[in-house]
Every structure is written in C-alpha cells, then in structure tokens.
C-alpha cells in the first residue's frame, strides 16, 4: 500500500511550469549554420573579396566570383570518405588545397566544415566519426594556409543524410564533409 500511494502521487499530472528557462542568448545561436545559404552559391557578388581571389583560379575566363565558377575546383564543396574512415582520399587533396589557397588569400572568408556519416552502426559513434572527418579537412586546410579563426567544425553524424537509402551508393553520398562558406 505504501508503495502504491507514492506511485499515485508520482503519476498525478503536474500543472503549469514548463517554459524555457533559457535566456535570449539561445536564439542568436540558432542561425550559426544556415545550410541553404552555404549549399547553393548566391548570385549576387557583393563587396567581398572577388578581386584578390582571382589569382587562385589562374587563367580562368570566368567573369563572376571565383567561388561561383562551375569549372573550378572551388565549386567542389564536398569531400567524401571511406566507410568508418576519416582519412582524406588522395583525389580530394587538390580540392582542399584550392579552398585553402582561397581562404589564405581572402582573410575575411570563413567556413563551417560539416561532418557527416552514413546510417550504419551507432548514432553517437557516427557523430564522433563526422567530427573526426571535419577535423581531418580542417587540419589539411590549416597546413595549407587557412587560419583557425576562419574555420569551425560541426558534426551531424547520420542525422542529416544527403541521400535517403540503404545501399552503398547512398551511404557513399552520406560519408562526407561539406565545406559551407559563411562569408566569402
């Protein structure tokens, strides 16, 4: 009986309470990563450092902002990884180098490196895997001249797949680091 009365008290719906206890600082954080902004190159080339960046693209006849040139290495913003690995593939080094050079030449440019994994295995391990992948790209970028102040990393693990599906093809699309420009 004693147990039971305690049980009832515990189960009584408790009125009120429930608002956020957090202050307004929280909302400011909310837009730190705006995926849409980073994912698609914007059309307007504003007052950012287009001129100084041209050198990185050497010889291109493209007239717009170097980050918008579809034929340049800089247009590639995704680095892919092998299963359960955070080693950068040989073929992706040139892409990362192009971004490092752009960042070195454009001190105002800043990026977020978003690490992701495929859906297999454990969710929290996959978050750590995404973090290690983002850090691998971060390290290579900084070896090649980007400064730490220009880059941040975030891992979403398997939470935000690029492709829904349970085949190796989808999994490969999802094992990635996205280079998202916040400022150019």
């Amino acid at each position: 009986m004693k147990f039971h009365q305690g049980l009832l008290i515990a189960l009584l719906p408790i009125a009120l309470a429930g608002c956020e206890t957090l202050g307004g600082g929280e909302e400011n954080n909310a837009s730190v990563v705006d995926r849409n902004e980073g994912g698609t190159p914007s059309q307007g080339v504003g007052a950012d450092g287009g001129a100084s960046a041209r050198g990185a693209e050497g010889g291109s006849t493209f007239q717009g902002h170097p980050l918008d040139n579809p034929d340049a290495l800089l247009s590639r913003r995704i680095v892919y990884f092998d299963y359960d690995s955070y080693s950068i593939r040989e073929g992706d080094r040139a892409v990362i180098q192009a971004h490092a050079e752009y960042m070195a030449a454009n001190g105002q440019a800043s990026i977020v490196l978003e690490g992701h994994s495929d859906e297999r295995g454990s969710r929290e391990y996959n978050i750590a895997l995404g973090e290690k992948r983002a850090k691998s790209v971060y390290q290579l970028l900084s070896f090649q001249g980007s400064t730490g102040g220009q880059m941040t990393t975030v891992s979403y693990g398997e939470e935000q797949p690029a492709e829904i599906g349970h085949s190796e093809q989808s999994w490969q699309e999802n094992r990635r680091v996205e280079i998202v420009y916040k400022t150019r």
Binding site: E27, S31, D84, G121, I127, K132
Partner: protein, 440 residues
C-alpha cells in the same frame, strides 16, 4: 537574417488528465510465445454496472503479461468460467484446460472518481492463493494501477521484478505538412500508451538518458545548429543547458548515484570521455587518446565505464575503472568478436554488456556475458542500434529499420522473445528504458 528557431517545451499539465491514453506506439509480439506460462486473467467484476473506467484492468494485465513473452494469457473468449473471488473458483476445471495460474478481481466505486480494486492470484494446481491485494486509486490512474498489479503477478510467478510500471523515452523524426523536418523527444508508458512529447525541435535531438530516479532526462539537442547537452524535468518540462563547449557535446549518460554524467566532449580537439559533476559543473577527463572515444555507459555499481573507441583501428568496446570520479587504471579492450562493436551498455545486474555488433556490414544487437566472454547475437535484422535494458534485465529495446522506416523492437536477453513497437507515422529511434519506479 537571423532565423529564430522555435523550440517548444510541451507542458504536462492537467489538460492531459482526461484520458490522454492512446497508444501512439502499438506493440506486437512477433515471436516467442512458445514455452510461455499459461495464465487465465478473468475480466474484473465491476458490480453489475457498466464499467465507468476508461480501461478494463483485467485486459491491461493480460496484455502486459503477454507482452513480456513469459506468459501466454488465455484468450478471453475461451475462459471457461468468470469467477471474481477465490470462493467461486473451481480449480479442477482450470486444470482441465491446462491453466497454471488464475487472476480474478473486483472493481468498486468509492467516490466520484475514486475506485478500489481487489485482486487475487491463484496457483491452479495447488488450489492456493499466491497473492491478494486491495488498492484504492483515482480513475485517471487506472492504467498505472493495472501495471502495478502486473508487476506483482510477474514477480510472484517468475521471481523477478516486473518492468510494467516503467516508461520508454524515444526520439521521433517527422516531416511536417510544410515539408519541414521535426524532431520530438517523447516518452510513453512501457506498453506504448500515454505518449507525451516534452520537446519539439526543427533540428536533431539525440541520446536521451534517464536520471536514476526517473524524473529527468538528459539529451543532446542541435537546436543551436551544434550539439549541446540539456537536462529536463519530465514532470514540469523545465530544462537547463548543461554544456556548450566547442565541438562535440554528446553521449550523456547518468551515473547510478545520480551525481555525475559521463559524456563525450571534443573541446581538446578530439572526442574524449569526461565526467561532469552536476553539483559543481566540474569536469574530469577520463580518456586521452588520438582516436575516437565515445558512448560512455556506467556499470550498475558506478565503478566502471564501458565505451566505444577505434584506438585499435576499428570501433570496439573498452572498459575503464573508476574510483568515485577518479580514473583508476588504463582502458581495457572488452570485445574481440566482429569487426565493429559500439554503444555498449551494462545489464542492470552488471553481468552482461549489450551492444551493436557489426559483422560484414550487418549491424545487430548482441550481448556479451562478462564471466565467460561468450557473445550472443540476439537479432537478425541489418541496421540495429541504440540498445537499452528494461530495468529488470529481461528485455532489450533497440532501434532498427523496417521497410525504410525507423521502428523500435525489443528482444528478450535470451533472444527468444521478439516484439515490435510501431509508430503511426515517421521514424522512431533512440529508445531509453526508464529505471524502475522507486518504492517510497
């Protein structure tokens, strides 16, 4: 420019005291009734009047017992008699239909919303009463009182405490009508009824873990577009952000004494395991290795953590000893079978560790018996994750995929009984079984 994310903390208020008891999760036993104990649960007498309660206590008890996989309740239509107390039971008749146990009861109305239930459990072969109880309750608590009676019957007949008066926390991911992603943190009773949402967010929610008293949940939220650890009172919805370090703030796990959280932070530049003392907010670093170290989980005595590390080249489980919040000794590798072992959790008796076991790209739930080192794979699906033990150690609930939807399943620790929790829509994932309710 700043997009304000709206995070709603839903409040569990009196509004819900009306029967807010639909099963958002429906539970189906998919395998394992064989060898279960035959038991007859006779519908409880309600004094000849129409049952004014929203639910039938006898039916809830029968469903609980069936779901455990340990019992095979006689279908109501096959019952040979409908006695309501010991005096009117003819044991010989029940023996003839091979029933081993019999549950009978009466419900009486005491006041406007006040009721009393009398229940008796009999051993049919001996013709003896094994348990008899009388409980008073409010009509809103009819399901709770039925689960409590199920616990008593289960313990009487199996020698183990029941896990019926518990809850399961889980995360759902849905697409809203506007096509936006929505993540909810929910919990329901262990039978899938009484689902309540305690947090809604447009960004991922992860890794709910219960406080040992079952009154709080700690979890990871990406509402700021990066992982942060929060703790929330389930009754009031009140919550607090605990950590916002650079990098990972992940995999929180509550210590058995309730004073510490083990968690993964990468503020040093690499995912490492730390202990976070709730009273002082002080951190103690547990691991220090260039590899991934994550998913810490406590031994029931609080003297050991099991965690996932790829320090050997691939994800495997390791243990490290603790003396209070002091690290004692070096990590020791625990798993050697399979090319991937992650998300280890100790069984409530500390004798086993359950995990996600990967072998050639197939991920299943397995248990390792610590004394013998024997590994038993319990499931036969392909994408299993997030195992969590029932507080009595009888079942493991986990997340898996069924026809491209995230579902929860449960399996008995011997792999014999399987059951599935289906959500009406969307994906459901990351189940965390609550501790048993404290006896007060």
């Amino acid at each position: 420019m700043l997009k304000v994310l709206i995070i709603r903390v839903l409040v569990l208020v009196g509004l819900l005291s009306a029967p807010y008891s639909f099963a958002a999760l429906t539970i189906e036993i998919t395998d394992g009734v064989e060898g279960a104990l035959p038991i007859a649960v006779v519908p409880f007498d309600t004094g000849g009047t129409k049952n004014p309660l929203s639910y039938k206590i006898g039916a809830i008890i029968a469903a609980d017992l069936a779901r455990s996989g340990r019992f095979d309740p006689m279908p109501e239509k096959d019952l040979i008699a409908r006695p309501h107390d010991g005096g009117s039971v003819r044991f010989g008749d029940w023996r003839l239909v091979n029933q081993e146990s019999l549950v009978v009861g009466r419900v009486k109305q005491l006041g406007a919303s006040r009721y009393e239930v009398l229940v008796q459990l009999f051993d049919v072969f001996k013709g003896e009463q094994l348990a008899g109880h009388r409980f008073a309750f409010n009509s809103d608590d009819v399901r709770a009182i039925a689960h409590h009676i199920s616990d008593i019957i289960y313990e009487q007949l199996t020698g183990q405490p029941g896990s019926f008066s518990t809850r399961i926390a889980y995360v759902t991911a849905l697409k809203t009508a506007a096509g936006k992603k929505q993540y909810n943190l929910n919990f329901s009773d262990a039978d899938g009824f009484n689902e309540r949402t305690i947090l809604e967010s447009p960004k991922p929610l992860m890794s709910p873990s219960w406080s040992p008293d079952g009154e709080q949940l700690v979890y990871v939220s990406f509402e700021a577009s990066r992982p942060q650890i929060f703790v929330q009172q389930v009754a009031t919805g009140q919550r607090q952000r605990l950590t916002d370090f650079k990098g990972l703030n992940n995999a929180p796990s509550w210590s058995p004494d309730g004073k510490l959280l083990a968690m993964t932070l990468s503020k040093s530049g690499n995912p490492e395991i730390y202990l976070y003392e709730l009273a002082t907010r002080k951190l103690t670093q547990v691991t220090n290795h260039a590899a991934i170290d994550t998913e810490p989980s406590w031994s029931p005595k609080g003297d050991q953590l099991v965690f996932t590390s790829d320090r050997g080249g691939k994800a495997q489980l390791y243990t490290i000893n603790l003396r209070g919040k002091v690290v004692a000794g070096r990590p020791k590798r625990l798993t050697f079978e399979g090319d991937y072992n992650a998300r280890g959790i100790f069984s409530p008796d500390g004798k086993m560790v359950a995990m996600v076991n990967g072998e050639r790209g197939i991920f299943r739930i397995a248990v390792l018996e610590l004394r013998t080192g024997a590994l038993q794979v319990l499931t036969d699906s392909r994408l299993d994750e997030s195992p969590s033990f029932a507080p009595n150690g009888s079942m493991i609930i986990y997340a898996t995929d069924s026809n491209n939807r995230g579902v929860l399943s449960a399996v008995s620790v011997d792999g014999r009984v399987h059951r599935r929790f289906e959500l009406q829509q969307g994906d459901v994932r990351e189940p965390a079984w609550s501790p048993a309710k404290r006896t007060r």
